[in-house]
């Protein structure tokens, strides 16, 4: 379970998070939606410790996120970055096997490569792709490799940051399906950030709408259309008029 309690974060005068509360149950897939610059990525980075919250608490499986053994804490996580964030200097299989070849439980090169190839296959890529470098791959393939890397060490929690950004609708659908399948198959807790409503419907068990630094609405994905929340309605229908100020 991930428990986010009254988290605040500001960058100078810009108060990005102003008291975010959220609970994600074990094995649940939570999708966070909201306009650009509403702090979705910042919230995710706070959970991972890439940013430190100014106030509030983040508790992951009973442990404070900013205390204790960082390596052990981060070993529970896998993350797919918006730009895939693959390491240019390493081949695809080395990217996927990066965590497997490091740390106290590191595997031999052969074993790590075997697992990497298996994970690549799981995300629909042929073993030959493993020998290529990230720059040789299309955007969709890079996302798949990023996904393979995120699940390589079989983490308990997986974060997805804008998983379909920059992809065509068909490839977006493929990535959404893969994410859903993998999360269910692994029984992992998932937290996804997206603007893409098709992703929301494909991936989410629950949805949280972030705006003005707080969660404006949260509930099951089935209740999205009937929420009656003016922020959510405006976001879902893409209207310029409403409580969310649209800059023209």
């Amino acid at each position: 379970m991930i428990d986010i309690k009254n988290v605040h974060k500001a960058f100078g005068d810009n108060k990005v998070l102003q008291g975010v509360d959220m609970k994600i149950a074990k094995g649940e897939s939570m999708v966070i939606i909201g306009g650009s610059g509403t702090g979705k990525s910042v919230l995710l980075k706070c959970v991972l410790g890439l940013e430190t919250q100014d106030a509030g608490r983040i508790i992951v499986y009973g442990e404070e996120a900013d205390k204790g053994d960082r390596d052990a804490f981060l070993a529970r996580f896998g993350m797919l970055f918006q730009s895939a964030a693959l390491f240019d200097s390493l081949s695809v299989w080395q990217n996927v096997a990066f965590r497997l070849m490091r740390g106290p439980n590191k595997l031999s090169k052969a074993d790590a490569q075997e697992i990497a190839i298996e994970k690549l296959r799981r995300v629909g890529l042929k073993p030959e792709v493993g020998l290529k470098y990230p720059a040789e791959l299309s955007g969709g393939m890079q996302k798949r490799v990023g996904l393979a890397r995120a699940i390589a060490a079989e983490p308990e929690i997986i974060f997805f940051d804008e998983p379909t950004t920059g992809l065509d609708p068909i490839m977006s659908g493929v990535i959404n399906e893969l994410i859903r399948e993998i999360v269910v198959e692994m029984g992992a807790t998932a937290m996804t950030i997206t603007h893409d409503m098709s992703s929301v419907r494909a991936i989410a068990d629950k949805v949280a709408m972030l705006h003005d630094g707080v969660v404006q609405w949260t509930g099951p994905v089935g209740n999205l259309e009937t929420s009656g929340n003016p922020y959510l309605d405006q976001f879902l229908n893409g209207r310029a008029e409403g409580p969310i100020e649209a800059v023209r």
């Binding site: 993350m79 970055f81 730009s83």
Partner: protein
């Protein structure tokens, strides 16, 4: 009065900003050094960086040293002729190259090549979230990216400068024997006789410090790069400029120390 106070305030703000930057660089350097001393060690990364920083800089440093040594021989001959002291050419070329020009010019050339490359690489990794990705993969970027680069530069620069010094002396020798009429064995004897161990060690110590500065500036500016292409570009410029200025400043301090 308000203009004066505004002027003073702007000077104060600049001084404070400078002090803050120096403090950040010091903390960054201390953190990098502490990661060099604590496991895990990334030997493969270190080796790759030694190749990248040391071996691949050899042509640049070698050519710089060759032409500098050759020009130095001509200049010293020209100056020495005014006092009928043309015979000092071999010894002054050797001492000048080993104590001063080898480390400083080598350092500046490597700063241009390596500092910019490190800053651009780490800056791009920062912008494309690769550094964040390292953290989520339980790998400390200071240990995996920064420490091997700084250690590699610190170890590689003295070797690079030693080779550069030799090539520079060779440049002087070629001009001395080919153009200025020196006898080959006499030139070499003069070079060896006047060169002391302290000359060599002080030059190599300078080179190690310059290597540390070059990689530190590249890593610091790249690691803290701003967003987008502009941020990476600025990081690259700042890395080269600050490394070059710091090399010249450190050169004076070290020369005083070895004087």
């Amino acid at each position: 009065m308000s203009m004066v106070s505004g002027f003073l305030a702007s000077i104060g703000a600049a001084v404070l900003a400078f002090c803050a930057t120096v403090g950040r660089i010091f903390i960054f350097a201390a953190s990098a050094v502490s990661h060099m001393l604590r496991p895990p060690f990334y030997g493969r990364e270190l080796l790759a960086q030694v190749m990248q920083i040391g071996f691949y800089s050899l042509p640049v440093v070698g050519l710089t040293a060759l032409f500098t040594g050759a020009a130095l021989a001509l200049q010293i001959y020209s100056g020495g002729a005014r006092f009928s002291a043309e015979s000092v050419v071999p010894s002054i070329v050797a001492i000048g190259m080993v104590r001063e020009l080898g480390p400083v010019l080598g350092g500046l050339m490597v700063a241009g090549r390596v500092s910019s490359s490190i800053a651009a690489e780490l800056g791009t990794m920062r912008v494309t979230e690769q550094i964040d990705a390292l953290v989520t993969l339980s790998t400390n970027p200071m240990k995996y990216l920064v420490a091997p680069r700084i250690l590699a530069a610190t170890l590689a620069m003295p070797v690079l400068v030693a080779v550069g010094d030799t090539i520079g002396i060779m440049g002087g020798y070629l001009v001395g024997t080919g153009r200025l009429g020196f006898n080959s064995s006499g030139y070499i004897k003069n070079t060896v006789d006047f060169l002391e161990v302290g000359d060599v060690t002080s030059g190599l110590a300078k080179a190690a410090v310059f290597g540390f500065i070059i990689a530190l500036m590249g890593c610091y500016h790249g690691y803290n790069s701003g967003r987008g292409a502009q941020g990476v570009g600025r990081a690259t410029i700042n890395a080269v400029v600050s490394a070059s200025v710091m090399i010249l400043a450190a050169n004076y301090v070290l020369t005083e120390a070895f004087f």
